[in-house]
């Protein structure tokens, strides 16, 4: 009961913080702002989180966990592996949108938040690799794909999608996200996925 109550408050904090970060970015958000938003005392907030940076990390982790959960459902479904890859890319683009809006990814704030979430990103990357490998294996088992080296292909698939994101986000030297850029990432990622699927299909 006590634990459940804690969980509810924790969730309240993360939802409020996510909104704040999304509107004002990390640097312009204070612990006071977040506490005020949910009618909580600053002292109580500090009981849950040491500082705003830890809240920020927790918000990123929550988004990543949601993504991983959704992907698990997709991988456990009886659908074609081809569909699973397309769904992976769709959910991954949604996650990107969340993380970008969270960070208000102007160059400054990106440099600022990157070290905070570096270990989360590294861990997440391992999970993504495992998920894409699982999908490729399923595709081979279902006789949809012809992939002899699963690890090589999943690394290639993920690296290329990452390259597309990075190229478009850093175009012109600034790490800036606009609707146009997000759309460009989305289009190029989908086109790559389509060609990748054709390329590995039997």
């Amino acid at each position: 009961m006590e634990k459940e109550h804690s969980q509810i408050i924790l969730n309240k904090i993360l939802v409020a913080a996510q909104k704040r970060f999304g509107h004002y970015g990390l640097s312009k958000t204070t612990m006071n702002d977040i506490a005020d938003d949910i009618g909580m005392s600053k002292a109580s907030l500090y009981y849950y989180f040491k500082d705003k940076e830890h809240i920020y990390s927790a918000v990123v982790e929550k988004e990543q966990n949601y993504f991983v959960q959704e992907m698990r459902k997709i991988i456990q479904s009886p659908n074609k592996a081809e569909w699973m890859l397309v769904e992976y890319v769709r959910l991954r683009l949604e996650l990107l949108k969340e993380l970008l809006s969270l960070g208000k990814f102007s160059q400054g704030s990106y440099q600022e938040v990157r070290p905070l979430i570096q270990s989360l990103l590294t861990e997440f990357r391992k999970k993504e690799t495992a998920m894409v490998s699982a999908i490729l294996k399923l595709g081979v088992a279902k006789k949809e794909f012809n992939v002899t080296n699963i690890n090589k292909h999943s690394a290639f698939f993920l690296d290329t999608l990452r390259a597309i994101r990075q190229m478009i986000l850093s175009d012109g030297g600034t790490m800036d996200i606009s609707k146009e850029r997000y759309l460009a990432i989305s289009q190029q990622s989908k086109m790559f996925t389509e060609i990748f699927i054709k390329g590995v299909s039997l």
Copy 2:
């Protein structure tokens, strides 16, 4: 006769300058160094080039022109379009190696040379787009490829290769080129080309 003589000297300057830039980078090379290397007076060198930056641009342009010439031969050959795309990527990787060794692409020198060659890079990009479009069209005509939107596919192909180069060159925040990174670019580019060809093949 006079013009031919000029051409020979010009070429001598560019060959010597290329070696200098390749070993010491732009900032550590002087007009004196280049003049000395070919036993020319500084005054004579200034007759041909206003400053070392103009020599640098001319060297880049020479490399690009060589690439374009080679590609023309390839596109005019009677071979399969698939082979032409593979050759494009092979030559493009060689050009990258030349340009990288030329720039001694540590982050500093890249920032330094980028403005000098920006217009050359933009012009070159147009030529590349035209060449890849020509290959895709040939592939359609030869009934090798199924590509309905030539412009979209050639932009996608070139953008993804560019994304792969940029991601690996800027990995870890530094714009650094090592043999390992060049190898990684080479492998990922070739794998992408293979999958792209399968993806568009009839």
